[in-house]
Amino acid sequence: MNDYMDRNEVNKLIDKYLEGVTTPEEERRLAYEVSRKDAPAEWKAIGAMLGQLTLDEAEYDEEMTRRRNRSIWTRRIGWAMAASIVVVAGIGLWLNSRQDKQDYECIAYVDGEVITDETRVLAMAEDAVCDIFTTASESDIDIDAMYNIEP
């Protein structure tokens, strides 16, 4: 109950109070409204009639509601975190399992052309690797040190 009502609304509630048709909750609200610092004399009379008990009851209930909302929010965050971990774990497991099943790639890019024929792609790849390993096996020079590169 931090936001005060406007004066017209308060006066309407006062009329309702004097008609004897306000509920206990409305009376608690009214007690809160008429206890403002800038309340006119008429409102102070209503405040006196409503009594400190009504105002304090309103304050008690407001405090308990505030605490309940804080506790609910803490619980919600806890559940939200648990739910998000489950969701992300689920996505991760799903992606992992998909990856195991669909781990197959066979593609070549030659002079801007895309080749997907497995035989051709494999041949090209083997050729490249063999090139290097053949060079290595043919070389009879045994030089150490990648660090001995001359400037």
Binding site: L18, G20, A45, G51, E57
Partner: protein, 168 residues
Amino acid sequence: MTQVEFEHIAIELRPSMWKVGMDFFGSSDDAEDVAQEALVQLWQYAEKLDAGRNISGLAIRIAKHCCVDMQRRRRGITVELMPAHEREIGADASPHEELERTEAAELLQQLIDGLNPRERELFELRQLDGLSNDEIAQRTGIAKASIQVMVSRARKKVYEEMRERLKK
């Protein structure tokens, strides 16, 4: 209500007042203080009431007041319920405001005393016990429409008089 009658009722009311304090403070010691203080204040009301009057609603309201008041005291503020008793002027209330409040409360009491018995009873059931018209109808057996009329009349009487006197 005599003290003996009150003590008998107090035994029944104490646990629910203790619970109000426990819910608010979460401490058994504080809850004990609330129950104790609330019973003292409840007696100050009850000794003026009839023996047969159900004061359980009033007891809870007073317990809630005590909780809020204890919290205020811890912050250095105090507001007293009963105008005729010693009051401590809290840090937040100026002497002038406190005096105004006291005078208003005393005036109110005078005006309530001046109502006819039925109007007074209904006024107090609404103001002190915090009962709705439905609850009052159930408790008293009076028709709800009549209750509304009588409460309205009582309130308007008191209000007009208070407004005039407070202006002076």
